[in-house]
């Protein structure tokens, strides 16, 4: 690849000066970054076989083109390896998809983060964590890919806290919020195969505008209905109305209990959809819907999402522990929906 890299260059004496420059220019997420030198950026571009000026995505609301060069620079800064670049690119394609609706989740007071779910062989090959300590620090792939996405949002799209990002609380997942599905131990069809008909040998990312994970506990039940009944009772918790998606992350013990009853992901989705409704009366009493409670409101049920298919079921998390979690999506179905994108790896 010989095409010119056109970004402005800054001469620095040493690493410390490079770091100071990045901080002073507001280019970091608060943590130190890897100085983006041309050789490192070229290695990123080579990994995806893209010219620097190739447009990865276009954010309509901001009228910003995201070029391969800028993605590569930010991926270097985030600490990515060149092998991570195809995953970062796919995630960015996902959040630029009109269905994801970038402007809302990126800027809203509602404080969504970009949940990235990695599926397919690339997850194992690059050691994306899908097990113990699923959302914890310690895995380079999980840590840097999500960080690269956020740095692109900040440095390229202009999603700056306090300016075009007005999150009331923000979100710890805005540092990174990446997991892989535990396909090796899962008894179920992988997420990317279910959602867009990928082959299991394809790799893909699913991006969802997501709130924080909420853990639930059930050590008592040995049935699918028992475990998922606890989930529904927790998931139905007030405050969530009209969410576009929920991601339900089932960890080892619960995964095995549910699978032992022969339930598929479709069975799980159906059960959750049918057993997590709230009455209109409840929403009105808790001031989540306007108006006085009418007698018919007591029996008018509202599901948590429009369709069972809006519930993303993922097998991931530690093998031990009677815990699983769910992740509410941000806002409403017309505002943002989860998008799955195939990871385009460069053929050798």
């Amino acid at each position: 690849m010989t095409a010119r890299i056109s970004s402005q260059r800054y001469a620095v004496e040493d690493f410390q000066q490079a770091l100071d420059l990045c901080y002073s220019r507001g280019w970091t997420d608060g943590l130190p970054v890897v100085p983006p030198t041309e050789p490192a950026v070229r290695a990123m571009l080579d990994a995806v076989g893209l010219e620097p000026d190739t447009q990865i995505a276009f954010i309509t609301n901001r009228q910003v083109a995201i070029t391969a060069e800028k993605v590569a620079i930010n991926a270097v800064m985030a600490g990515c390896l060149p092998e991570h670049m195809p995953v970062v690119v796919a995630a960015l394609e996902g959040i630029a998809d009109p269905r994801w609706g970038y402007h809302g989740p990126a800027t809203s007071t509602g404080s969504a983060a970009v949940l990235v779910i990695v599926n397919g062989p690339i997850a194992k090959r690059l050691d994306f964590n899908s097990g113990d300590n699923l959302f914890a620090p310690g895995w380079r792939s999980n840590a840097t890919v999500g960080r690269a996405v956020r740095l692109v949002m900040r440095n390229v799209i202009g999603t700056m806290p306090g300016r075009l990002d007005r999150g009331t609380f923000g979100h710890p997942g805005r540092y990174t919020y990446v997991m892989a599905e535990n396909e090796a131990e899962s008894p179920w069809t992988p997420l990317h195969v279910e959602r867009i008909g990928c082959r299991p040998t394809d790799s893909a990312v699913t991006v969802m505008a997501a709130l924080a994970p909420i853990q639930f506990y059930n050590q008592l039940s040995s049935t699918a209905a028992g475990v998922l009944g606890t989930l529904c009772d927790t998931l139905r918790y007030p405050g969530q109305i009209g969410q576009p998606n929920y991601c339900v992350v089932l960890a080892g013990e619960h995964m095995r209990t549910i699978a032992a009853d022969g339930w598929s992901k479709a069975d799980i989705r159906k059960f959750i959809f049918e057993n997590s409704t709230n009455t209109v009366a409840h929403f009105k009493r808790t001031a989540r819907m306007p108006g006085a409670v009418k007698p018919e409101d007591e029996t008018a049920n509202r599901p948590i999402v429009q369709s069972p298919d809006d519930i993303l079921v993922v097998a991931a998390g530690g093998r031990a522990g009677s815990f699983s979690c769910f992740i509410p999506g941000w806002a409403s179905r017309t505002s943002s929906e989860a998008v799955t994108v195939v990871i385009k790896e460069r053929s050798a």
């Binding site: 490079a18 620079i73 505002s335």
Partner: protein
């Protein structure tokens, strides 16, 4: 360590000229469009604004459109309709 160069990770916003249509001197007899952004009570707020523009400023009429959601611009149907049906538009964001 020898000196080296680092690359700028940011993008300069693309500059483009924006022109506004001239503001009317008066709303008297003007047809007013109201673009509602789907947030709670934004329709009620805009309805009241429409009434005020008619009763206090002499606007001829006020009609409302609803966006798909608050995070997107007004869609094409709204723009096409508004071009035909109104002289001025009030677009507010309620939160």
């Amino acid at each position: 360590m020898a000196g080296f160069e680092i690359l700028d990770p940011t993008v300069e916003p693309r500059r483009q000229p924006l022109t506004y249509v001239p503001r009317p001197d008066s709303l008297k007899g003007k047809r007013v469009g109201l673009v509602e952004n789907t947030k709670f009570n934004s329709d009620r707020l805009l309805q009241k604004i429409g009434v005020i523009l008619k009763t206090e400023y002499g606007a001829a009429d006020a009609r409302m459109w609803r966006k798909h959601n608050s995070g997107v611009p007004a869609h094409k149907e709204i723009l096409d309709d508004a071009k035909q049906a109104v002289d001025v538009v009030v677009a507010g964001i309620g939160d």
